[in-house]
Symmetry: C2
Subunit: 703 residues, 2 copies
Amino acid sequence: MNNVPLDLNPFFQPSSIAIVGASQDFTTIGGKPVRNLLAHGYQGKLYLVNPRYSEINGLACYPSIDAIPDEIDHVLIAVSKKHITGTIEQCIQKKAKFITIFGAGYAEVGEEGAELQQQLVELCRSHGIRFCGPNCIGSINVKQSLPMGFSNSFEKESFISGNIGLVSQSGALGYATFALGQEEGLGFSYVANTGNQADLNTLDFLEFLVSNPDTKVVSGYMEAVPDGQRLKKIALDAIQEQKPLVIFKSGRSDLGKMAAMSHTGSLAGSEQAFQAVAKQYGITLVKDTDDLIDSLKIFSRGKTASGNRVAVISTSGATGIMMADNCAELGLEMAVLSEDTRKKIKNILPDFASSLNPVDVTAQALNDKDIFRRCLDILIMAPEVDSLVVTTTFAGALVLKMMEEVIKADESSDKPILVSLTGPEDLVGSARRRLYEVGVPTYGSVARTTASLKKLVDYSDFLRKKTLLVHEEAANTIPQDDIQLKKHMTEYDVKALLRKWGIPVPQGGMAATEEEVRLLADTLSFPIAAKVVSKEITHKSDIGGVVLHINDAEGAVQAMKQIFKNVNEKIPGAEAEGILLEEMAPSPFLEAIVGVKRDPQFGPMIMCGLGGIYVEVLKDVSLRNAPVSPMEALEMIRELKAYPLFKGARGGAEYDVEAFADALVKISHLAVMLDDLEEMDINPLIIRPKGQGVLALDGLLIK
Amino acid sequence: MNNVPLDLNPFFQPSSIAIVGASQDFTTIGGKPVRNLLAHGYQGKLYLVNPRYSEINGLACYPSIDAIPDEIDHVLIAVSKKHITGTIEQCIQKKAKFITIFGAGYAEVGEEGAELQQQLVELCRSHGIRFCGPNCIGSINVKQSLPMGFSNSFEKESFISGNIGLVSQSGALGYATFALGQEEGLGFSYVANTGNQADLNTLDFLEFLVSNPDTKVVSGYMEAVPDGQRLKKIALDAIQEQKPLVIFKSGRSDLGKMAAMSHTGSLAGSEQAFQAVAKQYGITLVKDTDDLIDSLKIFSRGKTASGNRVAVISTSGATGIMMADNCAELGLEMAVLSEDTRKKIKNILPDFASSLNPVDVTAQALNDKDIFRRCLDILIMAPEVDSLVVTTTFAGALVLKMMEEVIKADESSDKPILVSLTGPEDLVGSARRRLYEVGVPTYGSVARTTASLKKLVDYSDFLRKKTLLVHEEAANTIPQDDIQLKKHMTEYDVKALLRKWGIPVPQGGMAATEEEVRLLADTLSFPIAAKVVSKEITHKSDIGGVVLHINDAEGAVQAMKQIFKNVNEKIPGAEAEGILLEEMAPSPFLEAIVGVKRDPQFGPMIMCGLGGIYVEVLKDVSLRNAPVSPMEALEMIRELKAYPLFKGARGGAEYDVEAFADALVKISHLAVMLDDLEEMDINPLIIRPKGQGVLALDGLLIK
């Protein structure tokens, strides 16, 4: 897991490029890359390969790769399937560092294509050469204006270079996003498209982008996660580097997932698991191209927010009200301005303008020199303000002048400043482009502005909390013994394991004879419960294997007899190891459910909820990837809609949330330790009143 | 309520216009309307009024309105507050039909301004003259290219005329929406801005637009609803006319509402009540300018969807998957293609393209002549398809050619066709503009496309269900007697009322003496409950006023004694009318809560939910404006997250949802009949197993 990331520098910044299948017809897949590289004045050595030509556009054309009198960093292959294997073999001989295969017709079209694709993978792997594609559009090094592919968006005179790295499984989606982003002033470092990602996949590129010093914002579109554990590692690195990681994952719905699988063949984990991991690892999730571009805008500005308190300057009542609505709906707080701040603002504004947040400077105030600028300065300096939104529907020279003030304020402050500019091109286009140019996050509507700010606030909050760092500490409190699980774990075995891991289980023990029952019962406080212990019986209650509310030793003996009789009748021949006698938990308590399930992508996931209708009918559960830190465990519990019940809603007791969280932490670490664990259920885990802890009343473990 | 709508034709299509305070400086509020009317070649008679000029731009300028030798339909007033009263008086003398007051400085700036504004209202009302504003930007008759105000968006050479009517309380928001909409090809009929809406308000304009034959889609932005009952009436008319009513209401959050109230002073109803009314009256709610424009796009096309089954043609896997995800998340169904349809598509597509929905024609298929067009035709004709989305990231001539096919298909079919076109201006701009031109709903992202389609599907569904028409029938089953409520209604009184209205209450009665208790108890099936009846006691249980599980007449007597003792101790001097003896409901049952509360805007609202944690902790409630139809009542119950419990979740019984719905209908009609009802609570209403009905166990009524 701690490998050095693959060095993709020769891929993105090749000293030499060969284009195999180069064409003089610049409308074809073999011609477009030639034209694009020539148009952008590639400074390295460009070798064209095509036996049909001796030159293209004055550039020598070689009959084969062998014939090139030089080393090649990056080979772009535009030949058809028929010639692919021979071409790859030549690349291997030439010791080319990277290959991009543009052509389609491989795994995406059926078994025959998949087979050929797999052969290419094996061929390249066995010679240590890596390739991108097939079925991809290519990549672009925006820093050096170096387009290596045939996207329509490469046919511009110049590109905006910047700090955003993007990798997209889909070429269509990736380059539409790139082109749209460029239109709105977004500067990119590198963009790649992995297509069928037979060899290099989205994670290889994300990992490189996280390590790449030109890239400060790392983003990706994927239809499935190629490797869950690796995504987590990349996310950790991104946090370390303080680079926001923005992921647009489609295939969220069952039908979408089916469609995506037919594309990629990757093992699909559950969408819920992916979302839980994203939450835990500070990954910003987006669900649409607009959403992706909006997020890149605010993250590429490079600021973080020190809290969720937003100040708003509006030029009309309406957009101010809309900001207040949107903030409330997203859980952002409209900053409560201090007496001091309000006094300063009142001194500037005319009587009728509002000095409350949203500060409505009104149309008239804007005619007065300096009012807008001074309000801006006061609010951005105010300690009770974490970020500032300017929202206007103004047009023409007026809004352009205002925006110059916004740009100055943005430069002078570490606090995020966002602009919501609603209007058509002819009225607000020039102001919008000016803001794009300098990188002030600018949006066409109040809703998009607040949604983006919310993403920044959440990310900043995540960085501040350092949730992941707390993991290590928690892990130290966990027993590190090697655990051997029996082939079949009975309730008794599971409880012994839980006890060893510091999760309280009821006082009690196992007894197999009348004598043992009596002896054991005398050591317990009544009432007690008796349950059959047998590896052949999972649903104990259903077959009469449980007796509750036993009030003395004699009752316990009777219970054992009754249980054995029931078991014999219901499951003849079932072997019982004995009965489990345990003290019953005194009221009051809440019944929780804790579950662990292994996700094929991300490993063990831990779930909690309240028993009965809460989980079964209301689906009121929290999910996280194991292990969880104490902070995450508390967050899981607080996320439950039923959370008020823990805090004494409806006149009930206040329950031991801390002990519940502690149990979640321990169970999550246990789940990670047990390599062969498929599923574990603690149902119920009794949560007792504050200070009295928890009790695992039943436990099931499936390997 | 059944008035003829105000005739705003002279307002929007005046034969003569006077501009008072007309200025030759065309950058001012008095000059811009002059320039705008001249620029657009107003065909009626334009009279300028300003004592300081004799002519402006060659047009005669009158010293006062009196001096105009003609009748005036619409007077635009650009004078300051100082001259407003005199000007209005002249308008009255002149018998002008409508006035628009542009100037600010009235109710929005404080008490003094509010007072002057109120004087204007009284002055105009007493002479039967209506005015728009003050503090507004003006209005535009787009049909006749007739801008009557000073919006920046009026300064275009020409406008796109169409079937959308828009009224906005905010000028900034309204005209930004108008301008943005025009940029995206939206055609409008009339647009107005009501500003402080001292006289004419948003509802006056909505009502006019619903009745106006040029307008097929009616839309409005409002910060508060001026009159809830009237909005309902307008919504009913809109349904009758089959015109979608699209409302963007801000002031949804508490802070937003506060900000809005300071603007308008209108009585704010609850946001929940507004949303319930919108749902019941088929009003499409939007929350953002983008959302508003997107909705107008699809509604102005004038088609409805016969169901929620969507077919998708994509040119890349990614956008197809995204469509599937978005449909799933919004509750739209990806159409399951029939064998027949799939066979037809397979015949056309290359092997590797997907004939499943989403149908991915892939980049290669598009090179082949006619494949796209034929897929389009097959899908739009398929009976299993209700609407079609084409999604592509293609660019240039290719996409333009594709879109010509889309336009033909759209013309030839009644089914909605939407296009998702993701890309920048230079790549997809011309295709986008072509679609705007012909009015095929076109969006820049998959998410916006599906969100708009969802709104059309919901609206179409609403029209089909005819929920509102069913009201009448239900109302006929309700007793129409005149009801006189006592000043203080005890539980006994409330139950008598409920029984009369056909809502079952437990068998029982009231007794005041030992003898009465014995006689009454003998007529009942045990166990029974005893409760104190007193208009001075609301929380009976808290003071020991309730005894449950009484098993014989003697027990009932003892219960009465105990209750009277408790009452005497806890509330000395409280007068008890007696005790209520009632049979207890046999298990099993669910405890529901039904509440009625009068909303200041919309009148009585009815709420239901399950008792205990469901309402109190989980806030799991449904809300509607009373009365509700049987269909709406069922919908209320189905909306509850706890609904599975009614259908026998967790091995429980199936409960009597129909009887519950029937009770909701009756209670809602009762709520409407009782003019002076403030609040009513039936808690609990017991829902018994299917076929066994409901029982109101307790009732509280506050006038």
